[in-house]
């Protein structure tokens, strides 16, 4: 049996590395007495595959994981057991049985939506808007990674195609930014990098960004985006299409 989990990496878990998260998840499944299937070999490990690693310091509202079990279990009972076994850093949102064969999550996910806050004190919403418009109007966007002393310089990359849309809106004295970024094997953008480029276009200084959250992971096909699983599937789509206006 194969199951797919949709879960949240909460505020309490934002500083977990991907390795920490994987270990925490395995322990959670073991506490829930999930009959995990294990790989063969000298050092057997449970057959779990995450949709995408989440960077340290970022929360995730809709993250995904596929797990293979060595026997069938009632999915509803399973969902309850895992929900109860979750530590404060994680929250189970949904669980479904999926076909044994099927494309892996990491191969199908190709879009991520991020949200973060910046201080509205020194940065004006209008400047951010102008920055967004100018940046997205550019035919080419070149990202030059910082040169670290003693390391080989990484060549600049053209990244305009990795940004689908960006929005900004005021929120309790802060500015809330949301953006859809393409995930590809070739290149990925971090929200911090987009914010830094945006500041260049808007002519302001990029303040620290706060409460960075990956709100969802999507599969984008034929101009439409949907989550691999999820009740708020339509919300995600609407978000995507609204923002897509840019």
């Amino acid at each position: 049996m194969r199951i797919r989990l949709r879960y949240e990496k909460t505020e309490a878990g934002r500083f977990l590395s991907h390795l920490d998260l994987a270990r925490t998840m395995e322990r959670t499944l073991r506490r829930a007495e999930v009959p995990l299937a294990f790989s063969e070999g000298f050092n057997p490990h449970p057959k779990m595959s995450f949709a995408s690693a989440l960077a340290v310091g970022i929360t995730g509202e809709n993250e995904f994981l596929d797990v293979e079990l060595r026997r069938r279990v009632n999915p509803e009972k399973l969902e309850q057991a895992i929900r109860e076994a979750m530590p404060p850093a994680l929250k189970l949102k949904q669980l479904e049985e999926i076909p044994m064969q099927g494309k892996s999550l990491s191969a199908s996910i190709n879009l991520a939506v991020y949200r973060f806050l910046v201080s509205a004190g020194r940065i004006h919403e209008a400047d951010v808007r102008a920055g967004i418009d100018r940046m997205l109007a550019a035919a080419e966007l070149w990202r030059q990674p910082k040169i670290k002393p003693g390391k080989k310089p990484i060549p600049a990359k053209e990244v305009r195609g990795l940004i689908r849309w960006i929005t900004v809106s005021p929120e309790n004295g802060w500015l809330k930014l949301e953006m859809a970024l393409v995930m590809s094997n070739m290149a990925q953008l971090r929200p911090q990098e987009v914010w830094a480029m945006l500041a260049d276009f808007g002519g302001f200084e990029a303040d620290a960004i706060r409460q960075v959250c990956r709100t969802g992971l999507y599969i984008e096909e034929d101009g439409k985006a949907y989550m691999p699983m999820g009740g708020d599937h339509r919300d995600a789509q609407r978000d995507f299409n609204e923002g897509g206006g840019h």
Binding site: F15, L16, D20, R27, L29, R31, L36, F42, P88, A89
Partner: protein
């Protein structure tokens, strides 16, 4: 009351491993501060990853928090980047559960695991805005206590501590905290510090350093530790303080729902304490003396606890901990049952401390059916003569046979622990370390050849420096000087030419500091204070160690560290820990010293009759659940 975790929030992205400072782990206990009578902050003087690997923390967390009127929270030594941040932003040391600052608690307790953590203790007090010296603390200030193995000679720290717990904390700590709670409850939440300390001194097992006055003669030799009149009690503090003891380990509280860290810690696994104490009687070993008598947990209890641990943690490994796990009388049955219950779920079993015998290989073979990781043994000395001196009851032939069995069973790596500088050691004994390693390599490689396996047996020889410890038969013996240690290591380095043997050794300088503090008296407190002032922190972390600062601290205090470390005490001398009673008869230690010098062994009392160490009596004794057989 402020939650300081919110104050560090904006800076967390800039410091290493922020999760160390946030708490919130699975099985964390967060209690209502207003619903308890005494709030205790357990302070581990090392980083989170080390502290969270310590079973003692988990046991005390359970023992204190299961008492409804008590609360225990945790704090760890902040790493250097975090310390800089705390000082820059004026954020005090805080507890991980509530985020309250250290000074808000009724009592802060440090665990003394090793001597090289002492500067961290002072640094943590300073970060907690707690007056460093006990004499400077008033009725409004928090009570500072300590416990753990180094509490068996806490004298170098005595001037910083209000009280010290001797012996087994899970028995005594809750009682001590309840006494604090009751004391305050009777006085409208206020403390009469002196009166409270007198109450604590009456608990048995609690040592209040300020109630004792060391007396020195003109030559600076300690001649007496005088008990003083206790305030409001009209009598003197007890002349001897007896350690607290747990009669029965089987029914004692054990944390089956321990805290499960999110980040990787040093020992990232379930820990099941299968027995406490060891009577093998190695004459250098402090743990083997101060944790007596031997008390086992029954197989039934252990299997039940293992099952509960599995359910509550989700770990994929369980470690059967004790000072000598293969000595448990039911170990075979236990390991067999655990393997049967856990194998299907890919939970591995590990036995950290095994004796060098055939039986250990059998056990290890059972738990490592597929992957053979390294085998570790501790012959401690290179020659039979010296092994007899230290009472390490293992013969060369037994060791070689064990290696043979291990290699036959599939192992190809062996780690051997040795010590240099043991009392009576000669260069012949030092040479014996190299010779023994060579024999092990030859025998092991020969077996591999016979079995048709490629390669050679790899041996890692890890050589540490003897540190004389309080409450052991070698407590009177001086340590080798730096020159002698260096010469011995240099000899071994050039002597071991075989590339199948890799040679590792410990820095003699830190070993000297350990010896100074392990047997030191109160005159060393000022040295620790000075070293801390000069920036010494995390002294057990090689890259943090500041040898020059330590040297200056000793010089400024007018103390000669080499002389203190290599000093040999007279058998009749008053030792700084003479008033601390760990249940071991001082005459037993003297007898053992004499036997050591006569190269005569004292066999384990479990198998060969009582050696009259003095531990068994009305307060309890040996508890075994199976038949005692010396395998």
């Amino acid at each position: 009351m402020n939650n300081w975790k919110q104050d560090i929030e904006p800076f967390l992205n800039d410091i290493s491993k922020p999760q160390r400072y946030l708490g919130g782990e699975l099985n964390e206990i967060v209690k209502d501060w207003t619903a308890v009578s005494c709030r205790f902050l357990f302070a581990f003087p090392d980083v989170y990853e080390v502290g969270m690997s310590h079973l003692g923390l988990q046991i005390l967390y359970e023992a204190v928090n299961q008492t409804p009127e008590l609360l225990m929270e945790r704090t760890f030594a902040p790493w250097t980047d975090m310390e800089a941040l705390l000082r820059r932003e004026s954020i005090p040391l805080f507890g991980l559960e509530s985020g309250r600052e250290a000074a808000d608690y009724d009592c802060i307790g440090f665990t003394l695991q090793h001597e090289m953590s002492y500067t961290n203790i002072l640094n943590m007090l300073s970060l907690g805005n707690i007056p460093l010296w006990a004499a400077e603390r008033g009725d409004e200030d928090i009570l500072v206590i300590a416990g753990g193995p180094c509490a068996s000679n806490p004298e170098p720290l005595a001037p910083f501590l209000d009280a010290v717990i001797l012996g087994e904390g899970e028995v005594l700590l809750p009682r001590l905290l309840q006494t604090i709670g009751n004391h305050k409850a009777c006085r409208g939440g206020k403390m009469d510090r002196k009166a409270l300390l007198a109450e604590l001194a009456g608990l048995g097992g609690v040592y209040v350093p300020s109630f004792y006055e060391p007396v020195y003669d003109a030559a600076g030799e300690l001649t007496a530790i005088m008990p003083l009149e206790m305030p409001g009690m009209e009598r003197k503090a007890p002349a001897m303080i007896k350690k607290a003891r747990l009669k029965d380990l089987d029914s004692a509280c054990f944390p089956t729902a321990p805290l499960v860290p999110y980040i990787e810690v040093v020992h990232d696994r379930m820990m099941l304490e299968i027995l406490r104490g060891c009577t093998r009687g190695c004459r250098f070993c402090q743990a083997g003396m101060i944790y007596r008598p031997v008390r086992e947990r029954s197989c039934e209890t252990l299997l039940r606890q293992a099952d509960a641990l599995k359910k509550h943690t989700g770990h994929n490994e369980i470690s059967l901990t004790s000072l000598s796990s293969s000595d448990h009388t039911c170990i075979k049955e236990l390991v067999h049952n655990l393997m049967e219950n856990f194998e299907g779920e890919q939970i591995s079993v590990s036995l950290p401390s095994l004796r060098a015998n055939h039986f250990s290989v059998e056990l290890a073979n059972e738990i490592q059916k597929v992957r053979k990781t390294g085998f570790t043994f501790a012959p401690e000395a290179g020659t039979q003569r010296l092994r007899d001196v230290i009472n390490k009851g293992v013969t060369e032939e037994a060791l070689l046979q064990t290696i043979e069995h291990a290699v036959q069973a599939g192992w190809s790596q062996v780690k051997l622990y040795f010590m240099v500088g043991l009392p009576t050691e000669t260069m012949e004994d030092v040479d014996g370390i190299a010779a023994l390693c060579e024999k092990v390599v030859r025998r092991g490689t020969q077996v591999m050849k016979e079995k048709g396996r490629f390669g050679a047996l790899k041996v890692t020889a890890s050589v540490s420096n003897f540190v004389p410890k309080a409450h052991t038969p070698f407590q009177w013996s001086g340590q080798d000087t730096q020159e002698v240690f260096k010469a011995k290591h240099a000899y071994l380095r050039q002597r071991i030419r075989d590339r199948r043997i890799s040679y590792h050794y410990h820095d003699p300088f830190t070993s000297m500091l350990e010896a100074v503090f392990a047997r030191g008296d109160r005159r060393l407190a000022v040295v620790i204070a000075k070293a801390t002032e000069k920036g010494c922190r995390f002294d057990s972390w090689t890259e943090q160690f500041k040898g020059e600062a330590w040297k200056t601290a000793f010089e400024e205090s007018g103390l000669d560290m080499q002389a203190l470390a290599s000093k040999t005490f007279q058998l009749t001398a008053v030792l700084p820990w003479s008033h601390l009673d760990y249940g071991i008869d001082p005459d037993f230690l003297k007898r053992e010293q004499a036997l050591a010098f006569k190269e005569t062994i004292t066999p384990d009392c479990r198998y060969h009759g009582c050696s009259r160490c003095g531990i068994c009596g009305p307060e309890g004794g040996l508890v075994l659940f199976g038949k005692a057989e010396d395998l």
